[in-house]
Point group: C2
Chain length 231, copies 2
């Protein structure tokens, strides 16, 4: 049913062989993503993942460090797959390209996005975007120190934006016309003057438009910072 079209960059494509004892870390991660796509992160249990593989839950412990390790592995698998196009030297092109690559990968399995965005922020699987951002800033003339600060700011902003994008998915968005109306009414009942004034706009949420605004604002900020660094 959920037959996701784009699987990882892995070798094996379809669902892993059931019943056969073909267990491997990769197969387990794939099976977990199958569960996540179907039932969300909350649906992941050692037992539910094992069921997909036609195997006993305890067998997973031979390949993965408990449930926590399993979820880490999933986050790492997704983060590790970020592939960034070569730099052009123009920040107005390269910054959006890096952000897009990260976003695309993080939203590959929307239900898994919170995992990718909140777990392992300190991990080293997600270093590709950091390397690209650092390279961009350094060759634009920023100091190493300024570059590191700026990279952290950019990553944090992007993560915050994507986290809301994912959360807003079902609840807000254009899809749910009644939800928007109800939401607007709640906002208007808040008694806060500026919230009331902005209620029609606060009630709706266009994911792509919000993302583009974030990237554009971030780009402007970086350009400003680079200009200041040069002076």
């Amino acid at each position: 049913m959920t037959r996701s079209t784009a699987a990882g960059a892995g070798v094996r494509r379809g669902r892993p062989p059931r019943g056969a004892s073909q267990l491997s870390r990769d197969a387990i991660v794939d099976a977990t993503l199958e569960v996540v796509d179907a039932d969300g992160v909350a649906g992941v249990s050692m037992r539910s993942v094992a069921r997909v593989l036609g195997v006993d839950a305890k067998s997973l412990y031979n390949h993965v460090d408990g449930k926590d390790g399993l979820l880490d592995a999933v986050a790492e698998h997704l983060l590790g797959g970020v592939s960034i196009p070569p730099a052009t030297g123009d920040i107005r092109v390269d910054l959006p390209a890096i952000a897009d690559a990260f976003r695309e990968r993080a939203l590959l399995h929307p239900e898994a996005a919170p995992l990718v965005l909140t777990r392992r922020l300190a991990s080293f699987e997600g270093l590709a975007p950091v390397e690209a951002l650092l390279g961009m800033l350094r060759s634009a003339g920023c100091s190493t120190g300024e570059s590191v600060h700026l990279v952290r700011f950019l990553v944090a902003s992007l993560i915050g934006t994507l986290l809301r994008e994912v959360q807003a998915g079902p609840t807000l968005g254009i899809s749910d016309q009644d939800g928007i109306a109800a939401r607007q009414r709640t906002l208007e009942d808040s008694g806060l003057p500026h919230v009331i004034e902005a209620a029609p706009r606060l009630a709706r949420f266009d994911r792509d438009a919000e993302y583009r605004y974030t990237v554009q604002a971030a780009t402007a900020l970086v350009l400003d910072r680079v200009r200041a660094s040069r002076a």
Copy 2:
């Protein structure tokens, strides 16, 4: 042992009366925060919270909508307590003041911060900061549309930053000298030239300094946006 000094703004102070049937939504939220402070969000279960109150776990269902509703209530309780100082009319003062108020409240119970920052991003308990930000931007001359976009960007950036601040708490930070060294070594082993160059700076993380950088960058961005809006 964990005797947190600053409790909420609630009326009752100490631990709720044990054994007595004094159950109430507020008492349950307080008890949950006690568990969170001691054992983290992962330590929260209907049974562990009930144990703090000297009550059967099932009794909680009379006041709270399951475990999910309980965690929502905790997030709302914390978010609802944000109190923002009156505006001065100077963005360079007011924006940091709003951010500080939000941060202070979100980090009141550090272990509960992920709850506050990720749950209920669409909630209406956290409207006070939104109202303050909208007011600031509108009276600075931004259109309603631009103000809404900007508020979303600012909130997302702040949430992303605070989320990392909380995550970085135990692992990075100044505290763990060996951790920093190990982390630096890993970065240097990545093979990524700019990551290697920046490794000493990437390895350490000063929470307050990073937060200040975020607020300052955000302030600069807003000032720039306001200037553009006027022209």
